[in-house]
């Protein structure tokens, strides 16, 4: 397949992820959208790795995955803590700097 297939697919995924971050008020969905954006980036990494026959792109995907795992772990813990304090997870309810 031509590179443009992967690139456009990746761009579309990324854009949809951005939309999810901007429009959804449920933080869980926002996190999922973030994962979507990670995946879009990963797809480009892998595609170029194959295109140039260099393995470093694949390695980067590996690192992105671990970082994303860490981010999700911390983010979901935050969610739980916030829900415990405010009894809601609506992002718009968290517009004050104080608890």
């Amino acid at each position: 397949m031509p590179m443009s297939y992967y690139l456009i697919l990746s761009a579309a995924m990324f854009a949809i992820g951005v939309l999810g971050v901007i429009l959804r008020r449920n933080p869980l969905v926002v996190f999922m959208s973030l994962e979507l954006m990670f995946n879009a980036a990963n797809l480009v990494f892998v595609a170029f790795s194959a295109y140039h026959q260099i393995l470093d792109g694949d390695l980067f995907v590996f690192f992105v995955m671990t970082t994303a795992a860490a981010e999700v772990a911390v983010g979901l813990a935050l969610m739980v803590a916030i829900f415990r304090a405010k009894h809601t997870i609506d992002l718009d309810e968290m517009s004050m700097l104080k608890g």
């Binding site: 992967y6 995924m13 949809i16 449920n26 979507l36 595609a47 694949d58 772990a73 911390v74 813990a77």
Partner: protein, 185 residues
């Protein structure tokens, strides 16, 4: 390129896009999570097609497996809240969609105007990106980042535990009785 391959790629791409859209439009967070799993598996298949089997399997096991389990666990824990779809921020929806469209258009424009045209992906050798090769690079050239990643994961683990620890300094734990409270009987 024969029609069957095109069909497979077309269906895969469509699956990716549709599942992504489904993710962001479904009201129920659980559905979103399932759409994301579908998306991950489709992208993993694309990784296989790009000759990266190790990454593909990591994608399916780590992402679609463990991370999504974590998501679903949290959704179950907090109760899958169905938040109202109304937009309280004025102009947020319109502006967001507009900006995203511009963003997409600009990416395409950039690709068309600013880059040298790319060829098709060459034939990938069988040994490329095999787990052995990845291991060689990972533990040689990328040893330090690997260790740093380990630290990040450790820090995330500790942070997650700390954040979700129940007790706070202001609120006493409701379940535990205070010793001075006389027990009836």
């Amino acid at each position: 390129m024969d029609i069957g391959v095109l069909l497979v790629y077309g269906i895969l791409g469509l699956t990716v896009i549709v599942s992504a859209i489904g993710l962001i439009v479904s009201r129920n967070a659980l559905y979103s999570a399932l759409f994301l799993v579908v998306n991950f598996i489709a992208v993993g298949l694309l990784y296989l097609a790009l000759g990266a089997p190790f990454i593909a399997f990591a994608q399916v096991t780590v992402y679609a497996g463990s991370i999504m389990v974590l998501f679903i666990f949290v959704i179950m824990l907090l109760g899958a809240e169905n938040l109202p779809l109304t937009e309280p921020l004025r102009g947020q929806r319109a502006l967001g969609i507009l900006l995203v469209l511009i963003f997409l258009a600009e990416i395409v424009l950039y690709y068309l105007l600013r880059t040298t045209p790319l060829q098709a992906i060459p034939i990938i050798p069988q040994t490329f990106a095999s787990p052995a090769e990845i291991g060689m690079i990972l533990f040689n050239r990328y040893l330090l980042p690997f260790e740093v990643t380990a630290f990040i994961l450790l820090a995330a683990t500790v942070g997650a535990i700390l954040l979700s620890k129940h007790e706070g300094p202001t609120r006493p734990k409701p379940g535990i009785q205070k010793p001075e409270t006389p027990v009836e009987g």
